[in-house]
């Protein structure tokens, strides 16, 4: 292809748009107390928070895949009354202020919640204020990203491949795992990356539903938040760590989840 030339107006607008994202980041970098960086990063709380953040966000992504892919499939493929409503419901965590999301989670899965009280009395399971609770809060907030992306992938895939598989005798589950999933690979991947990124930055729902216990439920965003009150410059450093990690993953994978380089 001939190299694309950029219309001037487009170039100017795009550059301003990019500046809008770069400047705040620059601000963080410039104002960070780089002298204290090592100290801030090696503090035991920081290391623990980082570990927890990674573990929880990855678990949330896995759970979102397990439940979100079937849900996206149903949205894309099965017609039923209330589908539009249900579909919109699953995107609500994107709209809900996360703190409210956390409260809603407590109302449902807390020890006094609709389901939580039954879980507690029957199995002795309580979810809030545990690492499982962190994973749950992150899944709640991040899963819509996966669902939306995968549903779009399912809708744009050529369904005739599934039909071809069926004419070859493949049962529905085989079609799903051996044809559908591989064919929507890029969307699946994109959805998972977005979901993971959102989970990594989750704050409001986590602190509300899971609390803020170092080593158990204190993820990086919570650690950053607590530092803001006292040593806010150290908090910039932690934010940058969070940024660099996700930046690394996004840069490394983005050409894959966008489909081409």
């Amino acid at each position: 292809m001939r190299r694309e030339r950029v219309p001037i107006a487009v170039g100017i607008l795009a550059a301003s748009g990019a500046a809008f994202f770069i400047l705040p980041l620059l601000g963080l970098i410039v104002r960070s107390p780089w002298g204290d960086a090592i100290k801030a990063l090696t503090a035991p709380d920081t290391v623990e928070a980082l570990k927890l953040s990674l573990v929880a966000s990855l678990s949330a992504t896995v759970i979102a895949l397990v439940f979100g892919v079937p849900l996206a499939w149903v949205f894309a493929r099965v017609e039923f009354r209330g589908r539009n409503l249900l579909r919109a419901l699953t995107t609500l965590p994107m709209v809900l202020p996360p703190v409210v999301g956390g409260i809603a989670l407590l109302l449902a899965f807390g020890r006094r919640g609709l389901v939580g009280s039954w879980l507690d009395s029957t199995f002795g399971i309580t979810l809030p204020f545990t690492t499982a609770g962190v994973v749950m809060a992150e899944t709640f907030v991040a899963m819509p990203f996966l669902i939306i992306t995968v549903e779009a992938g399912l809708r744009s895939m050529d369904r005739r491949y599934e039909e071809a598989a069926r004419t070859l005798g493949a049962k529905r589950w085989t079609v799903f795992t051996r044809v559908t999933l591989p064919l929507i690979g890029p969307s699946l991947f994109a959805g998972a990356v977005l979901c993971w990124a959102r989970a990594l930055g989750e704050f409001g729902a986590t602190i509300t539903f899971a609390g803020n216990f170092p080593g158990v439920t204190q993820t990086m965003p919570l650690a950053v938040y607590l530092l803001l009150g006292t040593d806010h410059e150290a908090s910039y450093i932690l934010s940058l760590v969070l940024l660099v990690i996700s930046l690394g993953v996004l840069v490394a994978l983005r050409h894959r989840w966008l489909g081409s380089a």
Binding site: E163, R166, T167, L168, V179
Partner: protein
């Protein structure tokens, strides 16, 4: 032992209502223009699109019956389908594509791989087993699609325009192979095409459909000689007229009657081969009983001959030699006379 289908359904603008049977002894070709519903009919037979009414029976077993609600899902029908654009799984190797059907039906992986390799050998693609489909040429893909459909030993083989995606040169070669595989395939065979040459070469019987309905069926020779619709006549390249026959004449319209040496009477088709139509600059003298003036509306070279369309009382196409054209200085818009002998008119009941 046969396929018997009576398919009635509506899909978008298409209103399909057709009866179809395929015997073991014959290769049947389904012929028709774009949008006639050929693919839809195939999909209905495969169970991929539901019938509104009617049934599909394979070897006497009911696969689907709208009246009773019985429905055997696609994956439990013993069919092999070659899709128009093949639909090879892009994420699987050629070998895995061919093995897919056998694996799906529960064959152990190494056995399926072995059988798939044999099939690929049979279609001359042993060298490509590990390649992904998109590394293959069109002709090679077609062969993989065929091997994939045949490998699980289906009872019924459905092919949707198996050669349409190939270019002219590859097509001739692949057509020969396909012919051979169709001949040796032990089950029932149904091929969709919209190329009459292809249909005639591959099939023993043609089923012509238009707008979701059957318009004609018969051997290639029967269909070629006695077209029953303008579509078939165009395909075959002959002039087709319709009218009332009466003692050696056929009334085409209020104004025009042609003479035909035939004993038919009543509603008939009359077919005149373009080669039998002569062109003249003046009113012809002598034996031709059919002659009238017209205006040339098109001149076309076609394989060493020239086809001239003449508009007149009865529009006709004449096929003449290039020499005749240059002698007569025929050009578009020019006035000419057309004539043909009454013995050159084929007449048969409509």
């Amino acid at each position: 032992m046969s396929l018997e289908a009576n398919v009635r359904l509506t899909l978008g603008a298409l209103d399909l209502d057709i009866e179809l049977s395929v015997d073991e002894a014959e290769v049947v070709a389904l012929l028709g223009p774009n949008g006639a519903g050929k693919t839809t009919l195939l999909r209905a037979v495969a169970g991929l699109v539901p019938l509104t009414s009617g049934y599909v029976k394979l070897d006497g077993r009911v696969l689907e019956d709208a009246a009773s609600g019985k429905y055997v899902p696609t994956e439990r029908r013993s069919i092999g389908v070659v899709f128009q654009d093949y639909l090879l799984f892009p994420h699987l190797s050629v070998l895995a594509n061919v093995a897919f059907g056998m694996r799906s039906r529960g064959m152990p992986s190494h056995e399926a791989a072995e059988k798939a390799a044999q099939w690929l050998d049979r279609v001359g693609l042993s060298a490509y087993v590990q390649d992904k489909p998109d590394a293959l040429s069109g002709g090679q893909r077609q062969r993989v699609a065929l091997a994939r459909a045949l490998a699980p030993d289906p009872r019924l083989l459905l092919l949707d325009e198996p050669l349409a995606a190939l270019d002219v040169t590859t097509r001739a070669e692949v057509r020969r192979d396909l012919k051979r595989h169709l001949t040796t395939f032990p089950g029932l065979r149904l091929v969709v095409t919209h190329d009459p040459l292809e249909a005639a070469m591959l099939a023993d019987r043609l089923v012509v459909m238009e707008n979701g309905r059957l318009v004609q069926t018969g051997t290639p020779a029967e269909v070629t000689e006695r077209p029953r619709s303008q579509y078939v006549a165009d395909l075959v390249g002959v002039n087709l007229l319709r009218g009332q026959a009466d003692h050696g004449s056929v009334r085409i319209s209020d104004d025009s009657v042609i003479a035909a040496a035939a004993a038919e009477s009543g509603d008939v088709f009359a077919v005149i081969h373009p080669r039998a139509v002569a062109l003249h600059l003046r009113r012809p003298e002598g034996s031709p009983r059919n002659a009238w003036p017209g205006r040339v509306s098109g001149v076309e070279m076609l394989g060493g001959r020239v086809r001239v369309r003449v508009e007149g009382d009865v529009p006709l196409v004449a096929e003449v030699t290039p020499a005749a054209i240059s002698d007569m200085q025929v050009a578009e818009g020019g006035e000419v006379w057309v004539s043909f002998k009454s013995t050159d008119v084929g007449v048969y009941p409509a």
